[in-house]
């Protein structure tokens, strides 16, 4: 019983760590290019995007954990990392595609179109690389993957929410759009450092 509680504790503590203290966007800038494009893109729903990203990250975590174990003893592992982890993401995407095709729900088509944008993303590959570089255990990896996806959703929500204010005429013309969005993300990142300190393990 205490073993199970310990595992649940580890899972949730790593999820919370990834949402706030090690937020993918604010502390590492993972997937920030996609976030900036997503916020101005009316065709792609931020919610569905973040949901697909979350699911992909959770499913990739165990696969990458075992792939990382196989990769560890190889002499050229540094070279092989992107190919191997990208293959893991491809397997998960294929699985998600099959599920979406079989489900035939009203949103299946939309989700199939969002899937490649959400999965082939530095947010997903970056999180997998962080998990493996820091040698997380299986439950830590899954917790971190889930938290990282939720952290991404939090960042998307915060930036989307601010868009109306960031379009204000009070902002000098040269700063409108991308520049002010970057400055806004920087200020939010500073607020997070205020809680956690600012060391980032690359």
């Amino acid at each position: 019983m205490s073993e199970v509680l310990h595992l649940v504790g580890v899972f949730f503590s790593y999820a919370v760590l990834a949402i706030f203290a090690q937020n993918a966007i604010f502390t590492r800038g993972l997937g920030v290019s996609r976030l900036v494009q997503l916020v101005g893109d009316k065709r792609t729903s931020s919610w569905w995007f973040a949901l697909m990203l979350c699911i992909t990250q959770v499913l990739v975590a165990p696969l990458a954990f075992y792939a990382g174990r196989l990769l560890a003893p190889l002499p050229n592992r540094a070279q092989l990392r992107p190919v191997v982890y990208l293959a893991c993401i491809a397997v998960v995407c294929l699985f998600e595609l099959v599920v979406l095709k079989l489900a035939k729900g009203p949103r299946s088509g939309q989700l199939i179109r969002i899937l490649p944008i959400a999965a082939v993303n530095s947010g997903v590959l970056g999180t997998v690389l962080v998990e493996r570089t820091q040698s997380f255990t299986l439950e830590q990896s899954i917790g971190f993957g889930l938290g990282s996806g939720l952290g991404y959703l939090l960042a998307v929500m915060l930036v989307t929410e601010a868009q109306n204010r960031l379009r204000s005429r009070a902002i000098p013309e040269a700063f409108r759009g991308l520049p002010i969005t970057l400055i806004y993300i920087g200020v939010l990142a500073l607020a997070i450092y205020g809680f956690t300190g600012h060391s980032v393990i690359l």
Binding site: L30, V36, V83, V120, S122, P172, G186, L202
Partner: protein, 243 residues
């Protein structure tokens, strides 16, 4: 200014600016691509130079390889039907990122030879380049020719490298008071070396860059109009020749 350039600017100034991936339509400043390595890694001139070499080794070759392979599932229209996107987007995404990962296999030993253990400072951001939108954004766009892949790849590499070096040097000077290790002043803004500082400095650099690009576009438009107003005859004779 040459006549054909003046005519191209006068005809469609936006289209003319669109082709300039180095200054007027820099992919980072205008479209926000490749931000993660810029914000986290480009904290010094040396880091920026390493990253620029990595991008130079990866971007154009991977784009060429992806251009070849993506012919198996090409997107033919600028605005494809949803059914076509559902079929082709996922394979194209993995063709583009997979091509970059394959090129990375060859690029990594070269980078290792050039920079040795310094390469470790790039952490997860070096392998992560294979999914950067800068390298993979074409998967959702219409199929391009090999000539375009090479020419655009080279121009985007130049534009990205230029911004990397500017940002790396500015952040190093602000955070440590040095540029490529040469001491210039005391540290002005230590925060510039952190990712949060990176976002803020990049935002300011983008704003200045955009303002300068807009000014240059206006200048070129006026110059082109002026040129065509002063030399109208050859334009008319050109039309006559065409007729």
């Amino acid at each position: 200014m040459r006549r054909h350039i003046a005519e191209a600017i006068a005809r469609d100034p936006e289209k003319f600016a669109h082709h300039d991936r180095i200054f007027k339509n820099n992919p980072v400043v205008m479209q926000g691509m490749g931000l993660a390595p810029l914000v986290v890694l480009a904290t010094s001139g040396k880091n920026a130079a390493m990253l620029a070499v990595a991008v130079a080794l990866l971007l154009t070759p991977s784009r060429m390889l992806a251009c070849l392979l993506s012919r198996l599932c090409p997107l033919r229209d600028e605005r494809p039907e949803p059914e076509e996107l559902e079929k082709k987007l996922l394979p194209r995404a993995f063709v583009y990122s997979g091509s970059a990962a394959v090129v990375y296999l060859a690029a990594y030993p070269i980078l290792n030879m050039l920079f040795g253990t310094d390469l470790l400072t790039m952490g997860v951001y070096l392998p992560m380049l294979v999914v950067e939108p800068l390298l993979t954004y074409r998967f959702g766009r219409v199929q391009e020719s090999m000539h375009k892949a090479v020419s655009k790849g080279l121009r985007i590499t130049l534009g990205y490298a230029l911004l990397l070096l500017i940002l790396g040097c500015v952040r190093e000077w602000l955070a440590f008071g040095t540029v490529f290790g040469v001491e210039l002043s005391r540290s002005i803004l230590p925060m510039a070396s952190m990712p949060a500082g990176g976002f803020i400095v990049l935002g300011v650099v983008c704003a200045v860059w955009r303002a300068l690009a807009r000014k240059q576009r206006e200048y070129l438009k006026n110059e082109a109009r002026g040129y065509l107003a002063v030399h109208p005859q050859s334009q008319e004779s050109g039309k006559e020749e065409k007729e």
